[in-house]
Subunit: 156 residues, 2 copies
DNA sequence: TATTGTTATACTCTATAACTATA
DNA sequence: TATAGTTATAGAGTATAACAATA
């Protein structure tokens, strides 16, 4: 296909489609925005071989050293069975360790290793970078308001 | 386990976990909010055996009668191959139809059937219901601002 | 040579039931 | 009898390569 026609065709292909009611559907807008932000996380974290969910898990272990897998899973809305393989991989990579408790030997206390602590510091910087690129679209008051709205939406 | 201890244990299990930096991560808050809203869509649409992605597809066909599968897929950020089975199911259920084009017989023009039109009307009402429950957390100006921010985040 | 719709396929994410060892 | 962690497994959702028909 000649380049002129090619361009014409591309334009038609990318011509605006009317999204109709979706344009004003909070649920749809939220979905698309979340997907876009996730993609940025994915790309930025790729060089550390860390995915968004893994980042959130390391962050919670960092802030709550010694917590159990059940509490960790509940806090992030992850099912316990799906956490096992993730923690296994962290241990293989030397990022976290499971410590046995003397008073309840069913439970494991989770901790970051020094290597894990070093990594999460780098990841936080990337997270903050993404956050800043979004935050610049708003002023400080708006950002606080929107974060609160998002928290309210999440909890009920 | 006695009921008193049971309660004690539940409290400990549900005790607040510090999410650390995630508490101020727009990406994380967006993710959790989107998941929560999706769950509401999922539950509300269940009685029509329609999932959120299916709702968005029907909506775009409604607003752009005769568009092709490629344009439909591009507009919603869906890969073409993943659209095929969805449209097949719509046809089996008598919600949409593919019409052959005389000038380009590779392409199919998509249309809602009368049954599809009736259904999408009901779905829009449910979508509006969810939307209203979220919108009441803000005033009108905030909602418009927030939607604009979400659109900006989505487009880059 | 390029594009539309399609098939096949693989990978991730998520969800549930059931097991084990402890309590 | 109940709980923590685990295993196995099944279902969505999503991604890519490659094909046939058509342009």
């Amino acid at each position: 296909m000649p380049s002129a026609r090619r361009k014409e065709k591309d334009a038609r292909l990318e011509a605006p489609v009317d999204l109709g009611r979706l344009n004003d559907s909070f649920g749809y807008l939220l979905r698309r925005a979340q997907t876009a932000v996730f993609q940025r996380f994915f790309d930025l974290f790729a060089k550390f071989d860390i995915r968004p969910a893994q980042y959130s898990i390391l962050t919670v272990i960092e802030s709550n050293p010694g917590l159990s897998q059940t509490r960790l899973a509940n806090s992030l809305g992850i099912k316990k069975p799906n956490l096992v393989a993730i923690i296994d991989i962290f241990e293989e990579r030397g990022l976290t360790r499971r410590e046995s408790l003397e008073n309840d030997r069913r439970s494991h206390a989770l901790y970051l290793t020094p290597k894990g602590i070093a990594l999460i510091g780098q990841l936080h910087r990337l997270d903050a970078e993404i956050d800043q690129s979004i935050s610049q679209l708003m002023n400080g008051d708006e950002r606080r308001r929107f974060c609160n709205v998002l928290r309210q939406v999440t909890s009920g």
